[in-house]
Each structure stands twice: as C-alpha cells, then as structure tokens.
Symmetry: C2
Subunit: 476 residues, 2 copies
C-alpha cells in the first residue's frame, strides 16, 4: 500500500524532490489600511511572492494565505504546493499577512499605538487577500468576470484558519481551500486540550523514560532553584542564559519553557527541519533521549534538562547564549501575534494535574489585564472570532479540506470529522503540525502521502467542476 | 386557483388582517462603531423593535435587517412578517441600520466629516445585526451555543440585499434569508435597466394615451421653459414650488422628476399606501389618467404634468408647496443613502433614446466628482460591493429566497432564476417593489399570494431541518 501510494505521488509530483530553496518574484500591491470604513484613504504595500513558471493561462491560482510571520518562511516550508503546481499548471502566490514581514501598514510605528496596530484584524487580512487576488486576476487579463482563473487557497496553522475562512466569506473569489492544521475550533474546545496532546507526544517519545513525567517533576525543581538569587545565578550560568535571570523574569522563563515544549511537539517532524528552530529528525525523541534521569534532585535534574533543551536552542552549536524572550526563530513573529491572540484569537489555554505542565487554570481576567498592559486595548468582545467565523457551525461551508495530524497539539482545535459532501476532514494519526504542507521527504509516513494524494484528487474535482459549470471548458 | 391559494393563506395567517399599526417594544444595544479594527472602543446605541407576543421559547426569530430609513417605517410596511409570525410562534425583531433613524453613531455630527460618516458601511451594518442577534439569543437564555433559536432574516430592497448577504456571510447566525426585491446584481447589470422598466410601467398604465411618450416629450418642453428666468418664474408658480426655481436648481428639478417617476413605479401598489408618499391605488395609472394630452405645446403640457404630479406630491391635499429637494417622505433617508450610493452601493444608471427619460449616459467621473464634493471621500474602489459580496456568483450560497416583482424597476438587478436547491427565485410578473413583504390586501394579485405561501413553506422546511439536525427536536 505504501509503495503504490508513493508511486502515484512520484508520478504526480514529477521527479524534482530537491529540498532546496523555492524561487519566486517579490511583488507589492497598495491595499487599503481599512477595508471596512471610509474614514481614511490610507494604503500600504502588501508583499506577495509569485511564480508563474508552471502556469498556463487556464491553470488555477494556488494562493497561500500568509500567517503570523515573514511570508518567505511559509513559501520555503510549504513544499507540497510547489511540488503539485506543475501537474496543475498552477500560478503560485504566497501572500503576506498585514503587520508581518515587510507588510507593515504604518512602517516603524505600526505597533506603537492602538490607532496604528488596531487594523491588525483577521477580517482586514482576508479582505487584503481578496484584494490581491482581484489584482492578480486583473493582471492576468481577467477583467471579464467569467473568465477568472479558479483560486485554491492554501494555509497552515493560523494560515489554514485564514484559508478556510477566506473560502467561507469570499466563495466567489476562492473556489476551495486546503486548511492544514487549522485550529478553527480552538476558541471553544476545553482549555487543556493543547497541554494534554503535548504531554502525550512527550510521554510516547522515549523508550527509556517517561519523558513527560520527568518534565512534570522539573517544575518544582525550577520553582525551588529560581526562588533565590543564588539559584537564579546558578541557572543563568548552567543554562547559558543571555541575561542574568531576575526575580521578575521567572515567569518569562516558565512561559518560555512551556512554549519550547509546545513548539517541539508541533515540529516533531520525522526529518531535520529549520522551521521554528533548527532541529534534528524527531526532535521530541532527541530531546527525551537526553533526559535519562535517574535522580530527581533539583540541580542534577535541571542540569540534564538544560542539556536536553540544547536540542531546541543550539542544535547548530552556533548559539552563544539562550534568549528566553524568544521561543521560535526564523520568520515567526510572536510579538505581532500576541496582539492577535489578545484581541481576536483568544484561545483559552490551561493545564491540569494530568499534564506534564505546571497546573494552571485559564484566567481570562489576568489574560485580559496582561494584554491591556502591553497593547492598551480593552477586549470587549472575547467571542469575536466565533461570531465572525461561526465556530463549529460549518454546515453552510463548502469546498474545504481540513487536514490534521493527531500528534499535533493544535489538532485538538481542528476539524476532525467530515462536515458535508464538500467539507472534508483528513486525519493523520501519526503526524505533527502541517507536515502535509511540507515538501516530500523519504521519511514521510504513509498517512501524509495519502493526505497529499487525497488533496490533489479533491482540488482537481473542484477545478473540473468550476470549468464545466462556469466556463463550459474541459480541464483534465 | 386563486381561491384555493387565498383559502390556504387565510388558514395560515389567522383572521387578523387589520391594516392598523403593528405594536412593539423599542430597545437599544451598545454596539461597536468599528467591528473590524481595534483602533478605538467607541460604541453607540443601535435601536431595534421587538414583539414577543407570538413567541414561544422554541420558536424562530424573524429578524428584519433594516435599510435606509427609520426602522419604524419598515416595521409598519412589512405586514407579511407580522401576519405569519403567530403560526410560526416567532419572535419579531426589526433592527435599525446604523446611521438611520435614531441609530446615529456620533449623534448630530455623524455626517459632518469622513472620520464620522466613514463607518457607514454595509459590512459594519451586517456585523451590527450579528451583534444584536447574539444579544437577543443571550437574553433568551441561549448562552449554550447549541440551543440557539433559528433566525430567519427578512428584508426588502436594500434591506433585502442585507438579509441575503447576512446569510451568505454569517450562516451560523442566520439560518435563512427572505430577500424581497433585493437588487444585488444591480452593480453589474446594463445601466439602462431601471429606466427601461420604469418606462414600460408607464407605457402600459394608461388606456387613453402613451403616458411614457408624453413624459418623454415633456423634457424638451421643460428645458425650453426653464431656460429663461421668466420661464422658471412661471414654472415655480404653476407647479407651486416652495422655492423660486433658479438657474442652478434646474438640474435638481430634473433629478427630482426622475426620482418621482421611479418612485411611482416602485410603489405602484394595487391599493392606497403611504410608504414613499401618500398615494392612491395604482398610482401610475392615476398619474397617467391626469395626462390626457392633446397638445404638445410646452406650457400646456407642463401645466398638465404639474396637475398629474399632484398625485404624488399632494394626494392628501395637505401639501402647501412642492419641495423638489426631497423625492420621498416617511422614513426613507435619501441623504445618508447618498453616502452609501457614493461609496459602496455604486449602481450605474443611465437612460437611452428608448426610455421615457432624457437620454443620459452613465458618467462615473462626474458621479465620483459630485460625490467628493458632498462627502469629501474618494472612491478608490468602485467594485467594492461585488468583491465583498460576490456579485452574481451565488453558487456557494444556501437558504435564501429572492422574490421580485417584474413591474418593479429594481427587478432588473434582482435574482430572477433559481441558483441551487436552496437558493430560490420567486418571480411575480405583475407586481411592484416588495409588495410581497406588505400585509395582506384584498387587491393583492395571485402571484403575491403564491409567493407568500411559497416563502412560508420554505422557511418551515429550513426550521424543521435545523431542529432535526442541531437539536434533535421535532418542529411542526
């Protein structure tokens, strides 16, 4: 079974499996800062990447709806789109999300005040995408409404949420959407789902210890050590932190650790990658293998944990010190995302006794206060995203594929069951965060190869139907 | 056939056909001025009218999406909703559109500057409606997502466009929409469609003359007379204009006349009404019967036209003088609507040699300049509404009924053919603007009775399916 699927994949993808860089032109469109009022005429330059080398005039547009980071990062980490484009004769577009990368509506001051950062809103980002699609259709000579190239939206994670929402809100601009690891239900799921999946990934990733159990024990050791100035000094030296740990940095450290564990689970890919950090294959396993703990005494435990964390922070051996104000590298922009997490993308998070994390309830009041301190924005509408996008009520949606790896902590907020005859859920039991969107690798499990095959079949069906119904043309 | 339909209507409607005033409570909700940015926290009081006397807890919410005027006007002129509510055990809500009636986001200064009036945007209005629906669901004790009352949106004209768009954009808030005389395709239809239908209404409304032909001839007579100061003086006196007609009022007069003819065709109802103006039954026929013109000499022709216009301007015999700066009375707000027509709702209008109007091309440049003079807003996005709502591409929509009377000038921009198994078009060949939304009248033609019956059957199907699929309940 594995072989035959692989064989089909090879036939469809062609033979260029090189994991090298993908190439494209960089373009910009002037888009309105505010699509939903006429209070001002301000525009800004939204960046998009485009490659037309596989495209013929009738081919579809594969449109990646950029997420919380530099769009180059997503273009370089979404090999699947590049690999299937030739057989679809598709135009490839990766469009940046406003307020990320170079697409800053107000330049340097974009984050300085609510009157600037306030336009960082998913509805505005979707309207940007529609604007850019229109722009590209016009460039393609599709002034006439009926001759438009069909557009397939792709996205992973928050980008996947956007691609599904883009199809829901703008079905006349976007024929269908592939939403990989898109936790559109995370606003409503029990708050411990994320922690619980991370725990199970760590629990099952080591043959020699219960890695999750060791981590669970480390929290009290860390509380113990970081409770004194000498302890913090010792930790700073032992873990090679860039800045001496102060009393009020302790929470920062704990949050950073939680993020690192979550990230390790998310990018727990079966081959070396450099997405959130430069990592070996199966990084959780690699991490856990460094924790052959026989002692639970605080300092030896923390020393071992520090060595294990090097898998995430210094796999390249180039890192001079560990910066705990940043939990991912590459193009992801945690700072701007924090604004979105504080305003619209409010996903309640907690951990319980059963998880490997410190027990922590979801505290909306504290969350809201912390957000206000940073952004000076009151969140009067905590259920905004549910109201805007419908939450779990997807019956009216059409032409969306939701893919989820069940070892991905975000899968708890994903769509895991078919919704209708045109809203599909593809579940990959053994994979991490949007592995299916990445380029082919010999280490890919069969579930991912199957998903990629299934996605292509469905996209082809959508496009065929589109050409038949709208253009009376045959597409093969 | 007519009798049997009428009989069913009577069974369904109950026996209260009184055309008296409908009663309701007046409520307000604080809604955000800007749903799509976090630049400010301003809110304002949006007005809605509510009647729960027919409602039981499981019944649907009939939600009228207010249009360009005081919401009371629409509540009093949409008797159909009131008449069917008892049999559905429905909660009736008429929600005002922002910037109309008392729902002014910035009070007196709401129209004074783009920074205030700029939030007059249909997308913001739709978000208001969703906000109010959420508010009412919460008041109804539907905090739990799955126990929500099904919402059916109703609307006529621009309100009908909104009700259909509300279902398209927010299907999880609104189960289905009844869009009566909603010209959602008017952005893309040939610009002379409106003029052409008005012409055919006037052409076919008189037995003794070709009324359209007389009007067509009147334009040169009017140009002739209004070309001189004495002529304008004479016209002021003859037509009893409130203000002496000056040279630069001539275009105002011509625009007013066009509007009056359009309005007469729109509200050409088979019984006396007071919607846009107080009028007799079949007002176009009444107007044309006053024009038994045997002469085409300018002054006698204009004198007769003046007497005919009294049907529209002074049917009550209470009007002291004719105010040409206002073409409708009651609750419609032409001023605020002008902002919408200038920014989003750009519907190209023209008239040709074949129409009863003066020949006039669609001149976007002039239109845009005129708009800028009034509002100081540059319209950089003339196809905004098409991009936002998809124009004629309705394949992804569901649960919408579009009704249109073919004698309604706006039907040229309406959806006149079924789109899918759940997006229906009901066409009434012999009726004017959203007659079907009005209360029952003995003079209603069978096409309207049929439409009203059909609408009820479909709404009942939607609600039954909703209860079966979401709540596992039986609704009859």
């Amino acid at each position: 079974m594995k072989c035959s699927v692989l064989f089909i994949e090879i036939l469809i993808f062609g033979i260029n499996f090189s994991s090298g860089e993908y190439v494209y032109n960089v373009n910009y469109v002037d888009v309105p800062v505010d699509h939903f009022s006429f209070t001002n005429n301000a525009t800004f330059k939204l960046r998009y990447l485009i490659n037309s080398s596989y495209w013929n005039n009738d081919g579809p547009i594969f449109f990646y709806t950029g997420n919380e980071g530099d769009i180059n990062t997503f273009a370089q980490n979404s090999g699947f789109i590049w690999e299937i484009a030739p057989s679809f004769k598709a135009l490839i577009v990766f469009c940046e999300h406003r307020y990320y990368g170079t697409s800053l509506p107000f330049g340097d001051k974009s984050f300085s005040d609510p009157i600037y950062v306030g336009y960082l809103h998913s509805a505005q980002a979707l309207a940007d995408f529609v604007y850019v699609i229109d722009h590209i259709q016009t460039l393609n000579g599709n002034g006439e409404d009926d001759s438009k190239n069909p557009v397939i939206a792709f996205g992973g994670s928050y980008g996947g949420m956007l691609s599904s929402w883009l199809r829901m809100k703008y079905p006349s601009s976007v024929l269908g959407a592939v939403a990989s690891s898109a936790p559109i239900l995370q606003f409503e799921t029990p708050c411990d789902v994320f922690s619980s999946i991370v725990t199970s990934v760590f629990r099952t990733s080591s043959e020699t210890n219960d890695c999750a159990d060791v981590i669970k024990k480390s929290w009290s050791a860390l509380r113990n050590v970081t409770g004194s100035a000498e302890g913090r000094q010792w930790l700073t030296k032992t873990w090679k932190l860039c800045d001496t740990l102060k009393d009020n940095d302790v929470e920062v450290l704990f949050n950073w650790l939680q993020d690192v564990y979550g990230n390790l689970a998310m990018v727990n890919y079966p081959y070396p990658t450099s997405f959130l950090s430069t990592l070996p294959a199966n990084p959780v396993k690699a991490f856990c293998s460094k924790l052959p703990v026989t002692t639970h005494k605080p300092k030896p435990l923390i020393e071992e944990l520090g060595r294990a964390l090097n898998i995430y922070t210094n796999y390249t051996k180039q890192t001079k010190c560990v910066n705990i104000t940043k939990s991912s590298w590459g193009g992801i922009d945690d700072f701007a995302w924090n604004f979105q997490a504080c305003t619209e993308m409010i996903m309640p998070m907690c951990s319980t006794k059963r998880d490997m994390f410190e027990e922590q309830a979801w505290n909306y009041t504290k969350f809201s206060q912390d957000c206000y301190e940073v952004w000076k924005v009151h969140i009067a509408r905590p259920n905004l995203a549910i109201r805007e996008y419908g939450g779990k009520h997807l019956a009216a949606a059409s032409n969306i594929i939701f893919t989820n790896g069940l070892m991905d902590p975000w899968s708890g907020g994903g769509v895991l069951q078919n919704v209708s005859r045109s809203v599909y859920a593809i579940v990959m039991p053994d994979t991490a965060h949007h592995l299916d969107l990445r380029g082919y690798n010999i280490a890919d499990p069969p579930s991912v190869l199957n998903a990629r095959y299934h996605i292509q079949v469905v996209i082809r069906k959508w496009i065929r139907t589109y050409y038949r119904e709208y253009l009376n043309m045959y597409y093969h």
